[in-house]
Symmetry: C2
Subunit: 307 residues, 2 copies
């Protein structure tokens, strides 16, 4: 089983409008609510692929109850930690005229030190109970999340014999590195932001110098870049770029990496899968999705090469 | 006391972002939740002016509970009718860079015939218990609201000896007219939409031909236009137009008209007050507000004239 930790879950609300116009008033023609936050998107992708996965993270209030209801409706296993603060919402407005999405992300309420320690012990308990091969810790962090919070998660994961994947940005990413996460997965922008390096390979090597064992950078249309533990560079990409909704593409890549590590696949296979899962997510209107048929078709068109 | 009926209340959520950019992802820097829907905005303005007011309407679910909590926090009297469906939300995104607002209005869930009859009997009971001088029925209507729903409200109001003000649009406005509402308050766009007349005076006379006793049209920067029961035309406007957030300006005008009718003021005074209350609302970032100082200052600059 794969265990996912989402420190800052969200109730993802999608509003469909005819055409989004600045400074206008819009009638919402369709409304959809789903469990969100990057770790729960990863969970959702894995569950949809039929891969055993269990989710944890803090949830609270009425939005939290609806997030749980969505997970239950989709038969996604979870052991969430109740918090006093209400789970944040994200509102994504999809403009039907052009298919484009505009997103508004609430920050969420502060996690108290007590709530953080409850979350960390819940993770330790779940690692002990379910013995996952892979722990995924993913997404933005709420106020009150310790600077080394992701490092603490990596440490409890390693102590339980797990490989640990961290998908975070800025201080949260940097704060994870001292604990030597097995994989970090920044995107191009996050890599520049965290390291100051303009070139992805240089950025990935900088993260390795700070402690990351392996770095997979998601580069949009340019696919994925791996710098492995020996410093070798492997790339994977679609032969032709795809149009669609990039939200959740990175989470689908993380899901594929988690599945690949869990199954002991070689990195070239893992990267090719990750590109295909990611591309299938681009074809979906909301994060955390991807059709099997799309994955099979897209997988056949993935190129993998060494620099 | 003034009784307000809001057939389609909303939890108004305001998101502040640095700058709203189409197709981008935004961090919400401030979040505010308030009771909304046009009738509740009218209620809020009256309560802020210290005028006795009581609100009714259907509310349900978690958003409904938060709407009620906001009314309670602001000491606004209400006797709301519980419904099975969840109260809708509206999300207004305020872009700090330019102060402009972009709104997304959920439609809300259907009102069942049983819930409509509960609402109508609640209104009849409140009229009987509190003997208001004025009934305000205001705003959009949910699915399931009868075509003559506003007419039924006008009838129960008249039966209890109330003057009734209807602020509605399209079919809901047209459906009210047979019951001869004392005042209807369309804006320029709603007047054209309901009557097909391009000129406000012609539109107002068309509504009177269909049953409205008096029509006050809100014309934005051109102020207010009254066509009274004798067919005379009175206008009121600020000497200079005001910049700001027009959301809720019409509701503030309705509040002033309700207060004026309740106090038996002459129409010229009512219109001048309505322009000042409306203008004070334009200076506020959210609907249902207006500062006393602004009203006093703006009131001095209102011109009232007969065509």
């Amino acid at each position: 089983v794969i265990l996912t930790v989402t420190p800052n879950p969200a109730l993802d609300v999608t509003y469909t409008v005819d055409r989004l116009v600045l400074h206008a008033s819009h009638r919402v023609s369709a409304l959809r609510e789903m469990a969100g936050g990057k770790g729960l998107n990863v969970t959702s992708v894995l569950a949809q692929r039929g891969i055993p996965v269990l989710a944890t993270g803090p949830v609270g209030g009425q939005a939290g109850a609806r997030l749980v209801a969505d997970l239950d409706a989709r038969d996604i296993a979870h052991e969430l930690v109740p918090t006093s603060g209400e789970t944040r919402r994200t509102v994504t407005v999809v403009s039907e005229a052009d298919g484009e999405a505009t997103a508004f992300n609430e920050q969420g309420v502060e996690l108290s030190p007590h709530e953080w320690s409850l979350l960390l012990s819940a993770v330790a308990r779940l690692l002990d109970t379910y013995r996952p091969q892979v722990l995924v810790a993913s997404g933005s962090v709420p106020d009150g999340f310790p600077a080394d919070g992701y490092a603490q998660l990596v440490e409890v994961g390693h102590a339980a014999g797990c490989r640990v994947i961290v998908d975070a940005s800025r201080e949260a990413l940097l704060g994870s590195l001292a604990a030597r996460p097995d994989v970090v997965k920044p995107n191009r922008h996050e890599l520049v932001e965290a390291t100051g390096e303009q070139y992805p390979v240089a950025g990935a090597r900088a993260l390795q110098a700070m402690g990351a064992r392996q770095v997979v950078a998601s580069l949009g249309e340019d696919g994925l870049l791996l710098v492995d533990a020996s410093g070798h560079v492997v790339r994977a990409a679609l032969a032709e770029p795809l149009r669609g909704n990039p939200t959740g593409a990175g989470d689908a890549a993380v899901a594929a990496i988690a599945a690949g590590l869990s199954d002991g696949l070689d990195w070239e296979t893992v990267l090719a899968d990750a590109v295909a899962w990611s591309a299938a997510a681009v074809l979906q209107p909301v994060a955390g999705q991807g059709e099997d048929d799309d994955i099979t078709r897209l997988r056949a068109g993935v190129r993998v090469w060494r620099d």
